[in-house]
């Protein structure tokens, strides 16, 4: 029993605390990694955050880190702290599916740049996290391998597409995870699981080896339970990469320094713009209440709150659901049954391709590929893709005007708390509305963050608070997000994540 309690204490530490305890020699990476693997064995049957658990190699990394530390070798800050990687990232030697049957069983022959950086940081990789197929979805219900369940209520969605990465944090299966955000797939899961997620500026993190969904929107980012933990991972992931032509040629923003500065809770001189169009009608009462309370806390800490208007945002969802399918239909053409993945053999290559894709793709993927094929087809291109690209310009102009009046912009991250699994699965349009507040940042390429804002009074479920900053100003998110987190955590008497209900554990699997 005392072992269980000690292990429980280990997995509930922040990543920063783990790093400090490892550096001080108070714990070993082997014990820490084993505690997380045990936790996964105990709760992931119910949560299903992981598609693959990398037990042996995670422990090998941990033991090598422990040996180096004992020998006095200088190690990176997060060395020995375990991590989960969204299955959209290619990982050499670890199965990578992007949540799709068409890639089932594929073992990549190379590492994505971010996976290489995680290995260079000496972080044990616990496994690959569940996601909507090719990141198309807001609930993980479109994963070909079954949905992830929200640790706050196992009957509810953990958000998507990165529901596995968010649920793994909320269930204390991993202290850090990596996500990808094309229209909110890092921020919306963070919101509904009371965790933290950041979409960096477009180009801030290399996408080499990330299985592309919509190339003009996709961005990889860090997920954690605290703003500081997320900042630590951001600095591991970010920076210029010659292997990605869209990679920004600038050093990683000072995320950690900004998070530490924010932790003082002082917001004197900070102007926060509330986006008028992302709130009000269509937003759940408890979401609005917790959002307003977080704003009040910021105001009391010295922030000036102004209202800003972004009138073109009403077109954002429509523009997104043309641009994304158009780019996805092109990116997914590589799944043809020739070089990797599934093949359903027919007499010609064309029929083989069509049969392979029919069997390998799920319904949501088929819907979006067909929609994208339509949007790009002769006679419709200007009306659809062309118009959508004009909307991107209008949205960027709205952001420019708003950022002239405020350092950061804020809104609720998602209009509602997590809904029940199955509730919207047959209604694509209702599902798409989850991302109404997160999509504008992707269209404009700017960075965004979601932090916990509390639990909605009517259902006791998590609410997310979104912060947005101008392109290249990711550090502002950590500065202001860190401060609001500090203020709210003080008001709650501890981190919100600690209030998550205890999950039933499969003790038989924990026994050693």
């Amino acid at each position: 029993m005392s072992d269980t309690t000690a292990a429980d204490r280990l997995v509930r530490m922040t990543a920063a605390e783990m790093a400090d305890a490892l550096a001080a020699g108070e714990i070993t990476s082997t014990a820490l990694t084993q505690a997380h693997l045990d936790r996964i064995a105990a709760v992931d049957g119910d949560v299903h955050a992981f598609l693959y658990v990398n037990t042996d190699r995670a422990l090998e990394t941990a033991s090598a880190v422990d040996a180096d530390r004992a020998a006095g070798v200088s190690l990176p800050r997060l060395a020995g702290v375990p991590i989960g990687i969204k299955d959209v990232l290619v990982t050499k030697g670890l199965p990578t599916t992007a949540g799709s049957r068409i890639l089932e069983g594929w073992i990549p022959p190379y590492d994505s740049t971010v996976a290489s950086k995680v290995r260079e940081a000496r972080m044990p990789i616990l496994g690959k996290t569940n996601m909507d197929e090719f990141a198309m979805g807001s609930s993980t219900e479109h994963s070909a391998f079954g949905p992830t369940h929200n640790p706050w209520d196992l009957d509810r969605i953990p958000g998507g597409s990165g529901g596995g990465s968010a649920a793994a944090l909320a269930a204390f299966e991993s202290p850090l995870t990596i996500g990808s955000d094309t229209g909110g797939s890092i921020r919306q899961p963070a919101a509904v699981t009371a965790t933290v997620g950041v979409k960096p500026t477009y180009g801030g993190v290399s996408r080499y080896g990330a299985i592309a969904l919509a190339s003009s929107l996709d961005q990889l980012g860090p997920c954690g339970r605290t703003v500081l933990d997320t900042a630590l991972l951001h600095e591991v992931m970010g920076g210029h990469d010659p292997m990605d032509a869209t990679s920004l040629r600038e050093p990683v923003a000072g995320a950690v320094a900004a998070a530490l500065e924010g932790a003082s809770g002082d917001l004197t001189g900070v102007r926060i713009g509330v986006i008028k169009e992302l709130g009000g009608e269509g937003y759940q009462d408890g979401v609005r209440q917790r959002f307003e309370e977080a704003l009040d806390a910021a105001r009391r800490a010295g922030a000036e709150i102004v209202e800003v208007s972004c009138p073109s945002f009403v077109y954002a969802l429509a523009a997104y659901y043309l641009i994304l399918p158009a780019e996805a239909s092109s990116n997914l053409a590589k799944f043809d049954g020739v070089r990797f993945g599934l093949r359903v053999e027919r007499d010609t290559i064309e029929r083989t391709m069509a049969a392979t894709r029919a069997q390998g793709f799920g319904d949501e993927v088929k819907r979006r590929v067909i929609l994208g094929t339509y949007a790009l087809s002769a006679g419709y291109y200007d009306a659809y893709y062309g118009s959508a690209q004009k909307v991107r310009t209008l949205i960027q102009r709205d952001f420019d005007a708003a950022f002239a009046r405020a350092h950061v912009l804020v809104s609720p991250t998602a209009p509602t708390t997590p809904f029940k699994l199955g509730e919207r699965i047959d209604d694509p349009l209702a599902m798409y509305l989850n991302d109404v507040a997160t999509i504008p940042a992707n269209l404009a390429g700017i960075p965004g963050m979601s932090i916990p804002a509390g639990l909605a009074p009517e259902d006791g479920l998590p609410v997310g608070f979104q912060l947005l900053a101008p392109a290249h100003e990711d550090a502002r998110l950590y500065r202001v997000g860190g401060a609001i987190e500090a203020l709210l955590t003080a008001a709650w008497g501890g981190p919100l994540s600690a209030q998550a209900p205890r999950l039933a554990t499969t003790t038989a699997e924990v026994a050693k």
Binding site: L217, L322, G386, T393, Q396
Partner: protein, 99 residues
């Protein structure tokens, strides 16, 4: 902008190389029509005199040093292929009888 008929979906599925059964077409064409109707609001801005944005952070002439870096061996590249032969990907015939 027009709505999507069942026959349109069948033609698009063929272009996208995805086989569709009758029940697939029944299910997807209704959903796709609803989505196309929803995105039709863009018509309101379609004629606006606004430049298009294709890439959120403008970049031009992205270059890197012309140096040789390690790449996959042929064996690694072929390791995950459904079928390979003689150092190449093996596929069914390219042209059908009617081509």
């Amino acid at each position: 902008m027009s709505s999507l008929e069942r026959a349109d979906v069948a033609r698009l599925a063929a272009l996208a190389r995805i086989d569709m059964t009758d029940s697939d077409l029944d299910r997807l064409s209704g959903q796709l029509s609803a989505i196309v109707d929803a995105v039709a609001t863009l018509e309101e801005v379609a004629d606006a005199d606004v430049p298009a944005t294709s890439h959120p952070i403008p970049m031009a002439n992205v270059e890197r040093e012309d140096v040789v870096i390690p790449s996959l061996t042929p064996e690694e590249a072929l390791a995950a292929a459904p079928q390979a032969e003689g150092g190449r990907y093996r596929v069914p015939q390219i042209l059908g009888e009617d081509a």
